[in-house]
Amino acid sequence: MKRARKRLFVRRASALIEIGYHTAYISSRMKSLPRTTSLLSLFFLLCTTAAVSALSLGASGLGEVRVEAGQGFGPKLQYGGGGSLDLRSPLLPWLDFGASLDLYDIAPSDISGGFDYRGFLGGDIALGVEAHTAPARWAGIGELAVGTGLGFAGVLAGYQYTTLYFFYPELTAKIFLDYVPVSLPAIDVRLSIPIGIQFRPDMDYSASAGVTLGFAYRLGGAK
């Protein structure tokens, strides 16, 4: 499989060169439409057989706990959960690019001490990279690989009971375990533990840890 990945990488590299040629040719004929040429470049990138076959599309569910403190009050925990739509594309044999669209609901904290940290509904777009080991195989079971990832998200959240919305960026890191069932070679089942730091300017600090379980379907089929 190591050899197959190398061939794939070479195929992708040559495909990218070809894409670049086509894009440059078309771009030179479309000088007045820069936005369209950018989209066209992306379109060609995605439509190259090698690139599309390397894409994985999936979904996952998340449960998390946050610890937050702000406005001079002490720390409290907030629990929440949500889901995401995920996209992954290999950059190198051991490195993937990941993107996701996430939605989650964070419940208010407890009211001890006469206050709580407000609950909110949040949505974000996250981008990141993931490094993983070469898969280990067991006959009759499937493949297992472990990895780690680092990402960044921009979040728009709305407080519970209100029409008040606020933005904050978030830094995330994770470790994960990927499992490819022998009976479903085009499917990756992923269990991951993400941790995050939320950069909320009106809080002293906000951090989270969770568990996600999801699956991804490789558009190119089995590895």
């Binding site: 706990v65 610890v67 937050e68 702000g70 406005q71 001079g72 009050f73 002490g74 720390p75 409290k76 925990l77 208010p108 904290s109 407890d110 009211i111 001890s112 001490g113 006469g114 206050f115 709580d116 940290y117 407000r118 921009g154 728009l156 709305g158 407080y159 519970q160 009971y161 209100t162 029409t163 008040l164 919305y165 606020f166 933005f167 904050y168 533990i193 909320r200 300017p201 009106d202 809080m203 840890a209």
Partner: protein, 321 residues
């Protein structure tokens, strides 16, 4: 992983069980701004006197007293009678701006950092001609202008949005401060600097309140420019619950004999516990009051008389009782 389990297993990371919060409230209501025998009333183009703020103040005082608050109240009724803590008093005890400063200063030595403070006002609210400042109008702030035959609010004897924040910071030494205003233009007292409120400052027939791309852009801009300093009452100073948006009026409800917002506010001990945890928070009170006004008052009255309560942003919500 072990640390994560321990953290999740603990309901609260900090022991708040030793916190004992005393609760204090200052309640003001102004029905008659000018006496019934004022010589200008018969010929003036407007009547500045309202109908029910004295009942608002009395009933809210009773409600909060029953919930364990130490209440200081002042109101003037529709017969020019002044009351201080429910006892008939003189005009010297009126719910005026000067007495507000006295009442706040009296609490300065009493209030501790874990205590809860609520300020409530029912009466007129006004906006500056250029729309940049909002006021609530205590007794004594309305004067007759003979040049145009109108009674008008005097900004120097009204309380401006910028002033209220300063008064609270100077006198009330707790973070748990709540300001409730049943008055026109009261949304102007909310000084959010991070949050974008998708409910507009004036209620219309159809208000789209879900976030749009414009909301996202505004939220990012607010993030980039974030400051805790506000031109009104910062949410990091006090939570404000306003009857109406910045640019709209609120009303007395003749059917219920109270301010329209206060009528529903008085129901929160019974219906305001939206999550059934045995307590009512500011956000729960706001959500209940807003839903009732939108579902009742705004449905039966013309759209020109529709209004919507607003609430402060900020990450913290306070428990009222």
């Amino acid at each position: 992983m072990t640390l994560l389990v321990v953290v999740i297993g603990s309901c609260s990371m900090f022991d708040y069980s030793t916190i004992v919060s005393n609760k204090y409230a200052i309640i003001y209501g102004v029905t008659n701004y000018v006496p019934l025998n004022d010589p200008n009333l018969p010929t003036a183009y407007n009547d500045p006197n309202l109908s029910y703020p004295h009942l608002d103040a009395k009933d809210l005082s009773d409600m909060l007293t029953a919930k364990g608050y130490t209440v200081t109240s002042r109101w003037v009724d529709d017969q020019d009678n002044f009351y201080h803590d429910g006892v008939l008093a003189t005009v010297a005890e009126a719910p005026s701006k000067a007495n507000l400063s006295v009442d706040l200063a009296a609490l300065k030595t009493k209030i501790k950092p874990d205590d809860v403070f609520v300020f409530y006002f029912s009466g007129h609210g006004t906006q500056s001609p250029d729309g940049t400042m909002e006021y609530f109008d205590p007794f004594g702030s309305v004067q007759y202008n003979p040049s145009n035959h109108f009674y008008q609010a005097d900004p120097t004897t009204s309380v401006a949005d910028t002033e209220m924040g300063s008064l609270l910071s100077a006198n009330i030494g707790t973070a748990r401060k709540v300001v409730i205003l049943d008055s026109c233009n009261s949304g102007g007292f909310i000084g959010n600097t991070l949050e974008v409120d998708t409910m507009p400052s004036t209620t219309s027939s159809f208000d789209w309140t879900l976030p749009t791309p414009v909301t996202i852009i505004q939220a990012i801009e607010n993030y980039a420019r974030f400051t805790t300093t506000s031109t009104a009452v910062s949410p990091y100073n006090a939570q404000v619950l306003s009857a109406a948006g910045t640019d709209e009026l609120s009303y007395d409800d003749s059917g219920h004999k109270h301010g329209a917002m206060t009528y529903y506010l008085l129901q929160i001990p019974t219906y305001g516990d939206l999550n059934n945890d045995g307590h009512v928070s500011v956000l729960e009170a706001f959500s209940f009051v807003k839903a009732q006004i939108q579902g009742n008052w705004n449905v039966v009255n013309p759209i020109t008389e529709a209004f919507t309560p607003h609430v402060s942003g900020g990450p913290v919500d306070f428990i009222l009782f």
